[in-house]
């Protein structure tokens, strides 16, 4: 995950630099917002542990025309029995003013670890979902969404 974030940050920084040259302030500002509290939010959830990149599937459009309401579906592979189930599922966005999007809590009675909702995305960015199982192990998935019109208002 570390490697992944580093690469992402490097990409964001690179893109920001190019954008600053090409389009001036506004684009650069949007890229600068990628440095939100994402690491903090993730660390708080994982306790600093690393998540294996597996089992978590994100269902998001590749291009979102309206950032105000972007459909998202997250599913985690799990038998969802008393012995083994997904307990918590954190969704974070690295390009919103605040990284936290939602945390979902499942129980064995959920039957399946699947949830859909609609979220706001301020700019083109990566959405990451991290699942915590009942035994404390972690799994994660990431997907990039291109956003045409940002959705955080203001």
């Amino acid at each position: 995950m570390d490697l992944n974030l580093n690469r992402r940050q490097a990409l964001a920084a690179g893109a920001g630099a190019i954008a600053a040259v090409a389009f001036g302030g506004a684009a650069a500002q949007a890229q600068a917002q990628a440095k939100n509290d994402i690491q903090e939010v993730i660390d708080k959830f994982t306790g600093g542990k690393k998540a294996a990149e597996r089992l978590v599937r994100l269902d998001l459009p590749e291009i979102a025309e309206n950032g105000n309401t972007v459909p998202i579906g997250v599913s985690v592979e799990s038998p969802m029995t008393e012995q083994s189930y997904v307990k918590d599922l954190l969704v974070v966005a690295d390009g919103n003013p605040r990284a936290g999007v939602a945390t979902f809590h499942f129980t064995p009675n959920s039957g399946v670890a699947e949830v859909s909702t609609r979220i706001r995305l301020n700019a083109t960015q990566h959405i990451t979902a991290i699942a915590r199982m009942n035994d404390g192990s972690l799994a994660m998935g990431t997907k990039e969404v291109k956003v045409t019109i940002g959705g955080c208002g203001g």
């Binding site: 003013p97 605040r98 809590h105 129980t107 909702t117 609609r118 706001r120 208002g153």
Partner: protein, 108 residues
């Protein structure tokens, strides 16, 4: 302000062990706290920050929402039918008020 959530179960009667899908939509501006009004003052945050679903009194699914959740929040999830009873969905506002909706599931 009393809003009535729209809740839909994909089946009203289920066999024990079946998965029941719940779709729910509730009207709420989900004010992010990031926007400014015409005179430049920040509009204070006001969102539904918690959601939970109980079936026959037992929690099957819950969520914590952040301002990144869209206005008029939509949520879709499933639960495993184990016993008949009320399916109660509750949203909690930043101001402490609650929005509650209820459906019924019959398990045969």
């Amino acid at each position: 302000m009393s809003v009535k959530p729209r809740i839909r179960l994909d089946k009203k009667e289920a066999k024990k062990g079946d998965l029941v899908e719940v779709k729910a939509l509730v009207q709420h501006t989900m004010e992010t706290g990031q926007r400014k009004d015409s005179s430049g003052n920040t509009i204070p945050r006001k969102i539904l920050n918690k959601f939970s679903c109980t079936v026959n009194g037992k929690e099957v699914f819950a969520a914590d929402f952040e301002p990144s959740i869209s206005a008029n929040p939509y949520i879709q999830f499933k639960f495993k039918a184990t016993e008949s009873g009320p399916v109660v969905l509750t949203w909690i506002d930043d101001d402490g008020s609650k929005i509650v909706g209820e459906e019924k599931i019959t398990v045969t």
